[in-house]
């Protein structure tokens, strides 16, 4: 039982962590919390099942097409739902515009793909039991993403420009950094990471339009608790959330597990609105 709690919990937790990173990548580039993070995760599963199961593409081609689709959607999000409301960010219109866009995509999926959860193929027949692919694939995806992001941010010029924008977009613009293009690139990157999360976790979560709301919430919990913009917080928080959820699932049952997660989340946020590792609030006057 312990094995299955840990393996299943870490697998789901890795998906949450990746969705959390998706939130972070978009937030760092634009100071926008976007409801499209869960949407990307949901689409990773649905599009993967569509390309591989329905259209019969080879797994690797399917993955590439899914990730490319995610990147395109990320860019579309930036154009439609983010850029038009950026100039009045203090009005928080982005909450509404990204919600509306994510709902549009979700409803389209529900109508065209169906509202039933559909199976996702087993791609790599390695491992059995608690070492099954469906458990290690999400963790592998998460590890690769972290390594990739670290490399991008620390070793490449573009990555440093991302960091500069995240730190102070005004100053970065004054230095001549192409803020708009970097923002578009960030949203494309978020699209890739989000769909990768959904793709890797789809054997567990299935190809299901309802995953959007679930991933939106459980992907947000770790970043809210770990501090917005902190990928380390997202990974630690995501994995912990996954394991906690599974343990509670086994011990007290599914409903109470969700209630427990929610209650803990609310209480921590009420006590520490900036998250467990967050900084204090900005000056208001």
């Amino acid at each position: 039982m312990l094995q299955s709690i840990v393996s299943y919990g870490l697998a789901v937790g890795a998906v949450y962590a990746l969705i959390g990173i998706t939130y972070n990548v978009m937030f760092s580039a634009s100071r926008v919390f976007s409801f499209t993070a869960g949407m990307l995760g949901m689409l990773g599963g649905v599009l993967g099942a569509l390309f591989i199961n329905k259209l019969g593409l080879p797994a690797i081609v399917g993955l590439v097409v899914v990730l490319a689709g995610g990147a395109v959607l990320g860019v579309v999000t930036e154009f439609i739902a983010v850029r038009p409301v950026l100039k009045s960010i203090e009005q928080h219109l982005y909450v509404l515009s990204t919600l509306a866009f994510a709902l549009l995509v979700q409803q389209f999926t529900a109508i065209e793909w169906g509202t039933d959860a559909q199976p996702f193929p087993r791609l790599i027949p390695i491992g059995e039991g608690w070492l099954d692919q469906k458990f290690w694939l999400p963790m592998l995806a998460c590890a690769l993403t972290i390594v990739g992001l670290e490399f991008l941010y620390r070793r490449t010029l573009v990555g440093r420009a991302f960091l500069a924008i995240a730190e102070d977009s005004y100053a970065a613009r004054a230095l001549g950094l192409p803020e708009t293009r970097l923002r578009i690139a960030s949203y494309a990157l978020a699209g890739v990471i989000g769909t990768l999360a959904g793709f890797a976790g789809a054997q567990i979560l299935l190809a299901f339009f309802g995953n959007q709301a679930i991933l939106n919430f459980y992907g947000f919990v770790p970043v809210a608790l770990g501090g917005m913009g902190s990928n380390r917080g997202a990974v630690i928080g995501g994995l912990a959330l996954g394991v906690f959820q599974q343990a509670a699932n086994f011990l007290v049952g599914g409903i109470f597990a969700s209630v427990a997660v929610f209650v803990v989340f609310i209480i921590i946020l009420l006590l520490r609105p900036e998250g467990l590792a967050g900084a204090s609030t900005a000056r208001r006057v």
């Binding site: 739902a81 919600l99 109508i111």
Partner: protein, 604 residues
């Protein structure tokens, strides 16, 4: 985003509105009432069901409108309270768990329960940022549905539970419709009353200019909680009616789509309006019925509509209807203040004891930066105290310490000898300490008059429920506040713009509007943060005369300014700051010839 379109809006005294204007105002309400009452003439039960649903949705949206449209809190999961109300009415009347209740009593209980849970759902709004709060309400919606699904012995789980039928006199189809219509009308009346009261104005102030709301003495937690109770109770009642309308409820009936419908209905209608969201609710309820093939696509269409609204017409229907605020304003307006009216505005004869705010050895750090370092300062009644210094010398910070936004690391502050506690900016209004801001904090969606009336919020006597029920004390409040605000506007010279939406004003006019708002508090002390910034030379001269006149009425004025000429003209004493430290203090003449000041700040 308009002057609140409410049936019971208090008529201002200065010019009785013409019959035509009143008719124009009441026409849409009258039309809706006639359609509502006459609907059974169609004798079509299908129309009846749609109409019942529209009424029930509106009962919920009426309350939610105060939360979303007025207070600006993005509560997207409000369907949780509809679910709660529906199940509590259904379970109480079914008699499975305990003795069966009378449906009317059960409906009342659902309202009470809804109010209690409204607080729980709303509580995070006090601490959390917008998106975080939106997420928590979403979480609530999910949790409530899951509990309904899992708690089989009470809710019937996925199978569901039957809803009640209301007994005489509201029993069969149209009887139930009239019951819904009656409650919807009641909900409209109550929310319209609240919206047009000082509480409604305070909600908009929290939405558009939270800092200014605090400085006017509005305690956000208490007000928001009250509104959450109200909105929760209405949602609970709506849920009870919904369970009867559905005649059988399952968790499937309460999808997130429904929450989206409520939320979008309000935004389509426009923030800060009652009529707009009402029309929006009717529109969204009725629309899918006319286009049956579109039913599957309805949420898709709502989402598309929301995107269009946010990107193209953020003001919603109300903005489209608000043709008055599209009429061009007169060009080249001139502000001529009338200081001779000050005595009437300030009315300080009763409690005009001279006193002082005294700061002793105040130090405040931001991280490693010493923003203020051992400052002594006294603001005395009847005097203008000028505070000058280069950028970053701690002028505004000093003002923020006095008005309670920052708590210094060390030092003391006293008001008329008694300690003035640090922090808690919303308590300053009670001490009659008023202020303006470096960038004017306007409530853009409200009229200039309403912006000014905000300043007198703490002088209202009627409680929330008195305002809600439009009792006499509320009307006396409104008349007193309206009259006082009009005189304050005349004093600063903005009376012709009273009905104009504040975000259409010029920068200089906003500065004078903020002063009028501060005067509404009948302040003992007034702190002005760079009031002359962006004003023309002539306007600065008039402003100076006004400030002087205010102090001569016995008000202690702290004037933070960069215009040295104005400071020396107007001030009785001047303190010069540099890098958080006091560089010099004395009369204007002493400061003007102070060598260090001339070197550091004024220039040779």
């Amino acid at each position: 985003m308009t002057d609140v379109t409410a049936p019971s809006q208090s008529k201002r005294t200065r010019a009785a509105p013409s019959l035509l204007a009143r008719l124009e105002h009441a026409a849409p309400w009258l039309a809706l009432a006639i359609i509502g009452v006459a609907l059974p003439l169609f004798d079509d039960s299908y129309i009846g069901v749609i109409a019942q649903r529209a009424c029930i949705y509106w009962i919920l949206c009426a309350g939610l409108n105060l939360v979303v449209g007025y207070a600006g809190q993005i509560a997207i999961g409000w369907v949780a309270l509809l679910t709660l109300g529906a199940y509590s009415t259904a379970v109480l009347t079914a008699g499975k768990v305990m003795d069966a209740w009378n449906p009317y009593l059960a409906l009342l209980a659902s309202g009470v329960l809804g109010g209690a849970f409204g607080v729980i759902v709303g509580l995070p709004a006090l601490r959390l940022r917008t998106f975080y709060f939106a997420m928590t309400t979403l979480g609530f919606a999910t949790i409530v549905t899951q509990v309904a699904l899992a708690w089989t012995e009470v809710t019937g789980g996925g199978v569901g539970t039957p809803g009640p039928e209301f007994p005489w006199p509201f029993n069969p189809e149209w009887g139930f419709y009239y019951f819904c219509l009656l409650l919807a009308a009641l909900a409209t009346w109550m929310t319209a009353n609240i919206a047009s009261s000082r509480y409604g104005r305070a909600l908009i102030a929290i939405r558009d200019a939270e800092v200014a709301a605090e400085a006017s003495g509005i305690a956000k937690p208490r007000l928001l909680m009250t509104v959450f109770v109200f909105a929760g109770a209405l949602a609970g009642v709506a849920g009870g009616l919904f369970s009867s309308l559905q005649s059988y409820i399952t968790p499937d009936a309460f999808t997130f789509d429904l929450s989206v419908l409520f939320f979008i209905a309000i935004l389509i209608g426009g923030r800060g309006s009652i009529l707009g969201p009402l029309l929006g609710t009717i529109l969204l309820t009725v629309l899918p019925e006319f286009a049956a093939p579109l039913v599957a696509w309805s949420t898709f269409l709502y989402a598309a509509l929301l995107l269009v609204i946010v990107l193209v017409i953020p003001g919603g229907i109300a903005d489209l209807l608000d043709y008055k605020n599209r009429r061009p304003l007169q060009q080249h307006r001139e502000i001529v203040a009338r200081p001779e009216l000050l005595a009437r505005v300030l009315d300080r004869s009763k409690d005009a004891k001279p006193g002082a705010i005294e700061l002793k050895d105040i130090s405040l750090h931001f991280g490693g930066v010493r923003a203020i370092d051992g400052l002594d300062l006294a603001i005395r009644s009847g005097e203008v105290h000028g505070l000058i210094g280069p950028n970053g010398s701690g002028k505004t910070t000093t003002l923020n310490v006095i008005s309670g936004y920052y708590a210094p690391r060390s030092g003391t502050a006293t008001l008329n000898g008694a300690p003035l506690p640090f922090g808690a900016p919303h308590t300053r209004a009670r001490y009659r300490i008023a202020r303006t801001f470096q960038t004017p904090r306007l409530i853009g969606g409200a009229s200039v008059l309403q912006n000014v009336m905000i300043g007198g919020t703490i002088d209202g006597h009627a409680g929330f429920s008195e305002a809600m029920l439009s009792l006499p004390r509320h009307h006396r409040d409104e008349k007193a506040l309206g009259d006082a605000a009009m005189i304050a506007l005349q004093t600063v010279g903005l009376e012709t713009l009273a009905d104009v939406r504040a975000d259409r004003l010029q920068h200089s006019e906003l500065r004078f509007m903020e002063i009028a708002r501060a005067l509404m508090l009948r302040p003992a002390f007034l702190m002005l943060d760079e009031p002359a910034a962006g004003l023309s030379a002539e306007e600065i001269r008039r402003l100076g005369a006004l400030i002087k006149a205010i102090s001569r009425e016995g008000v202690g004025v702290l004037l933070v300014e960069h215009h040295a000429d104005m400071i020396f003209d107007v001030s009785d004493r001047v303190t010069v700051l540099n890098l958080g430290k006091m560089l010099a203090a004395g009369t204007p003449d002493e400061i003007r010839s102070h060598r260090e000041v001339v070197n550091a700040y004024l220039g040779g």
